[in-house]
Symmetry: none
Subunit: 509 residues, 2 copies
């Protein structure tokens, strides 16, 4: 059977003039074209279809919205900010619009839904399309749901991890031993990374820590660190810091480590879904791509933490360690108490204050944060073989007590671009106990929500400062925490939420 | 714990002025607000979150995009066409923006993903939120994927069907016996409904046929019928047509029969996914809501049809008939040959041509389409008890041969708003045999894909016209089919696909 094409797709007729519309759609690339533009008519582009935009060798898949008013001329393609930046165009540049190729890898997703296992080639095809922006939310959600409804097999987790690593950039280091640390999250204020990195690097070991910004939490490590030093470093700058100081605490976004993870995580959050296999691949792909050889994983366990039970923690730990080993990555999981926030601050600057207090051995430094950081650093020191098992924590504590970790932290901050003082919020309001009694539980999730309503993480000074710990006696009228906000509106919103959610602090008489 | 709010959320501060932006986003409701507007700041609305818009007692959940340019004033909320129409506002009207309530029913979806069965209350909660527009694409996709990965149990299918019926409107008729017909699809060109309705109605029976538009196929009955008569009738107009003529062939979308189905189907289409339970609920909820008492189901079986094997057909038939019975609906499934398309045309107008040829008893009318329509109409006539079993087909054939069915069809078209002539495509190109031999197989799915790439169903004249049938001898260079397209771009895409998929026509020497 033969059929000759009249013209190849995407000819000059498909050319439009780029226009920056100034519309922030977040991650989603959107293009606005006039309904009656020649391209829409000749290509049969209907509203809400996904089309390929090309300019100067770059391609972006965008959702098309039709403009029926005089907002646009017929030869204009107005881009959302995300599409504009990814396509790298200027106002008036030529853009070619065309149909995307059929998504062949979706047949693998369908097969997976019906129970077929995915091999490496299938995983590679899927992840390549995910990273290429070719999956819509519908496709991403089906992929993740299938992996939760029919849990990924061990070899699928391996294949997924490998595919995610290979779909991004990789870092390499002038050291056989590259240490790393990761927290399985879900616990507000658990900001040990800057402390752990300072301890490890002060001992002459290599620990290039790349961190994420907050997605749904009040602060990511990168957000907190940014209140003390610049974190937006490119690969070259990161290498320079690590060569000089042995460690860094930077945002990982600039170096494209496992970019599929960033895309999948957004959908997982919307579903509030965490499948074990996906979590393992998500965590490890970033670490493998970052060139780590030894990894300690912090896993807080508690009813309102991400890992809610001891048995779930054990299963997840096994999967993490076994998968890591397949990639030559030595990993150890440290379980910890996840029943209440760590430290006092929740929110970038408030957490930075806790970090600084621990590093400076201040008398009022939060001891739970110090202990957690020492446990993790100790495990890393042992994993690296620097001291016999059982002596790691003492070694870690020593570097804090003798000021070496603090000195190292300051040098890392300087190397990253200069140390800063975390900002202080303009509006503060205490929440006080409505009755006297003993503090029985704290709801991590609602405390995190409160901090976000107050403005964290976008407003770096915003968040919640805790004044009480589980088991403590409180008296009526005593401040339980202080809400920090940058604007009266946000303070009002947070306080309103607090008033409706009194039980986030459960005080029993 | 107490904390006094300065002002409560959703007060006057949340008020914005409505503006019609003239942006067609299809089904998706979108609102554009300035990033620095007081509402976004006080409510903490970030880009791409879903917010509730309220005006005059109506509510719409919309996706928020932030405008960072001077496109909008700080007190304006610019709406997409879908949001504008659903909210029913005028330029300058007040709109209140607020956070949506938490989606409690999502916990049922998550439970379903992990294997919990859903009871009636859970199904009702889910479907109510689906119909209320509270599920994003991510949520809808997870719901459907979970039902495919872990098939719905019988009681779940019942509960889902009932929930879908109750979430919409219901039709009732001045007749105890209301006949209906449905095809389980998957076979291109299988456009029997207009013929069956004309036969049945010409015999004085009542058959108010509501049809869907294409889901994943190149044409739905509503798309095809629309090329011959208006199909967008409201409930009142439908009743008038049926009272007058005994039958109709209209689009069901205007009467809100099982509106959840329309929402779910869009996502199923994007996933190209059909689970048995979802299919049963989808088909039967529409028929039950339409007030049917007797239903014949057409189920083509073939390796590239929707139902691929005899055993799958038997299982699906049992599920359909048993579920229908639970709702007092008598159903019979007619299995048929699904190894090749029915008729010659694939695409709305091309299929309409075949329908007209059969109704007019034209000498070149496709006999397979005629036979299939007679089989289905015959089964309905028998199910209605009009003739003894075995004599239905003869009765049906008689109405075609004596011109009564054709006369009835014309009267129905007139009653629906006036008969039309199906459009003819502007761009046509034959695909010719690359070798001589016998036509062994035709791939229905790829033929359907070819028709869709050519522009069907949005372009009503587009599609594929077949010139050969299975088992026929063809000679090299002989046209196998003709591709019909409305635009050069689409013709090019279709021909490009055809060139890469020669084996969709398997000619063996």
């Amino acid at each position: 059977m033969t059929g000759k094409a009249i013209n190849s797709p995407a000819t000059n007729a498909n050319r439009l003039k780029a226009r920056r519309l100034g519309v922030d759609t977040q991650f989603e690339a959107v293009v606005f074209m006039h309904k009656d533009c020649p391209v829409c008519r000749s290509e049969g582009f209907t509203a809400h279809t996904r089309i390929v935009l090309s300019a100067g060798g770059r391609h972006v898949i965008a959702t098309l919205y039709h403009v029926t008013s005089d907002l646009l001329a017929h030869d204009e393609a107005a881009l959302s900010e995300s599409a504009w930046i990814r396509l790298g165009v200027q106002d008036g540049d030529n853009i070619i619009a065309s149909h995307p190729d059929p998504l062949e890898s979706l047949s693998h997703v369908r097969g997976r839904i019906y129970g077929n296992q995915l091999d490496q080639a299938a995983m590679n095809a899927i992840i390549s399309d995910v990273v290429g922006g070719r999956y819509s939310d519908i496709h991403l959600s089906a992929l993740l749901t299938a992996g939760a409804a029919r849990p990924l097999h061990d070899n699928e987790v391996l294949a997924l991890t490998r595919a995610m690593v290979e779909a991004g950039d990789r870092l390499s280091w002038n050291s056989d031993m590259v240490l790393d640390k990761h927290s399985v999250g879900g616990l507000p204020g658990n900001r040990t990374s800057p402390i752990v990195v300072s301890i490890i690097a002060s001992l002459g070991l290599v620990i290039p820590k790349t961190s994420s910004r907050a997605i749904t939490s009040p602060a990511g490590t990168a957000d907190t660190m940014e209140t003390m030093a610049p974190v937006d470093l490119d690969a070259k700058a990161i290498h320079k810091v690590v060569e000089q100081e042995g460690g860094c605490i930077v945002w990982g976004g600039a170096v494209r480590l496992s970019p599929a993870d960033d895309i999948l995580i957004r959908v997982e959050r919307a579903l509030d879904l965490d499948s074990e296999g996906q979590l393992v691949a998500s965590v490890l792909s970033k670490k493998i791509a970052a060139g780590s050889s030894h990894l300690v994983l912090d896993m807080p366990v508690g009813p309102t933490a991400k890992v809610r039970s001891e048995s779930a923690a054990v299963a997840l730990s096994r999967a993490l360690v076994a998968t890591a080993e397949s990639f030559g990555l030595q990993a150890k999981v440290i379980l910890g108490d996840g029943t209440q926030p760590i430290g006092r601050g929740i929110g970038p600057a408030l957490e930075a204050r806790d970090v600084l207090a621990v590093l400076q051995c201040a008398p009022d430094a939060p001891q739970d944060l110090r202990k957690r950081a020492i446990a993790l650093a100790g495990a890393l020191i042992e994993l690296a073989g620097m001291v016999p098992v059982g002596l790691g924590e003492a070694k870690a504590a020593q570097t804090l007590d003798n000021g070496r970790a603090w000195a190292k932290f300051q040098r890392i901050c300087e190397a990253q671009g200069g140390m800063r003082v975390p900002p202080v919020s303009e509006h503060q309001r205490p929440l006080v106990a409505a009755r006297s009694g003993r503090l029985k539980t704290i709801d991590n999730r609602r405390i995190a929500k409160l901090a976000k309503l107050a403005g964290a993480p976008d407003d770096k000074a915003a968040g919640v400062e805790l004044h009480v710990r589980l088991g403590e006696e409180v008296t009526i009228g005593q401040p339980l925490c202080t809400v920090h906000a940058g604007a009266p509106g946000e303070l009002a919103y947070a306080l309103d939420y607090a008033a409706k959610n009194e039980s986030m602090f459960d005080v029993q008489e």
